[in-house]
Assembly symmetry: C2
Homo-oligomer: 216 residues x 2
DNA sequence: GGGTCGATGTTAGAGTCGTCAACATGCCCA
DNA sequence: TGGGCATGTTGACGACTCTAACATCGACCC
């Protein structure tokens, strides 16, 4: 019997969930590099071979954690709908939620965006809410509509994702560019969204596209 | 003697460089996760303890690779100065160079932006060229100047960095958002740089503020 | 109720990895 | 000429991932 937690019955009962839960905390303690399946098993109180009854691989367990991460991220993004305001403001809230999610679950976030082929299914789920609201923002004129919504959403996503990863890797500290999560997102998106800033000079009235010329 | 390459003399002669070179190729083959110091030593034709005469740690070797990566990235960014054009165009070129560097050295790029405290010294080196050209772009009116240059540069960096990491992790494939490196950068920066229409990107309207409505 | 069978545990072990201590080699220089 | 120091090797330890063979036990069938 391993040195971890003792239990009365031979079978654990809900080992799979216990492993996933324990993995989350172990992952935040040790990072995705130092994460060890043996140590996880020890902590949960089972032998080091037991996890293999539930996951074919160490990587399979981490992949499942990543999948759950995508669900959590999507939930966090969708939750910004509650205080329903303008599309532009909701995009800001989404950006902040994205950075917060990354800061709160750094290791899971890292695993989510590692090169593994299976994520190509789960990722669109988390991405969809942003595409939706970008479409709305284009209709209200908060975002240029001479570009397909997917392209605009992709750019916003890249910006926010870049802020998140750079913040996680302490990317801004040596440069005097540290800032609060809200400021990071606000100042970045202000450059992208042509929205209510006081210096709101150029409403791209109607170059080629008709759109919001008088609709406002 | 290990099974790798045979050599005549007892001493290798230039083991340190051989290790760094071999590490780069092994890293691209196996990824930063599957990278093994033992396998590296085997390939270079040296015992598994030999690397410790030159690097205190496995991590120390990788950190050195990251430092060299920062130098290479900075060089790649500075090289965009040669075909000297407008600041806005140079920012575009820098973005493309950034994505290319990441695509050509995926594993090293990954190591460069992992949470290690020592990178906080090397990173500003690679970042500086962008800050410089952003300042120029603000003077020519290609970028808004009511925001400190560092903030604008930080935003552009985040956008480009996000594009790079998402491209590396195949972030766009499930979404029908794949695109060429040039298009990724161009379409993203077009939303940030208030430079003219997508069409006339060769001859950006020149100095002065690009008048919003009439500059077309 | 008794028997069996599959899911879920355990133990033991192979093979790899990172790292260290002790020893070997040979170039450089007094 | 010979000693010392940088740079190799050998051998070993502990930890890791993963597999094979065996143990336990609840569910289901008669």
């Amino acid at each position: 019997m391993p040195t971890g937690v003792k239990r009365s019955s031979y079978h654990h009962g809900s080992l799979r969930e216990a492993l996933l839960d324990g993995a989350r905390t172990l992952l935040t303690e040790r990072g995705s590099q130092g994460f060890s399946l043996n140590e996880l098993a020890r902590r949960v109180g089972v032998s080091s071979a037991a996890p293999y009854r539930h996951f074919v691989d160490r990587d399979a367990l981490l992949a499942e954690l990543a999948d759950q991460g995508y669900l959590g991220l999507r939930a966090a993004l969708e939750e910004t709908e509650r205080p329903a305001t303008t599309p532009a403001d909701r995009i800001r809230r989404m950006g902040v939620a994205y950075l917060r999610f990354a800061a709160d679950n750094p290791a899971v976030f890292g695993i989510m965006f590692q090169h593994r082929p299976d994520h190509e299914k789960a990722r669109p789920l988390a991405f969809q809410p942003l595409v939706d609201v970008v479409g709305q923002a284009q209709q209200t004129g908060d975002l240029p509509d001479h570009v397909p919504p997917g392209v605009v959403a992709r750019t916003i996503w890249a910006t926010v994702h870049g802020l998140a990863t750079l913040q996680l890797s302490r990317g801004f500290v040596g440069l005097g560019l540290e800032d609060s999560t809200e400021n990071l997102v606000d100042q970045a998106l202000t450059l992208l969204l042509r929205s209510p800033r006081p210096a709101d000079r150029d409403r791209p009235g109607g170059p080629g596209r008709p759109g919001p010329a008088g609709s406002r």
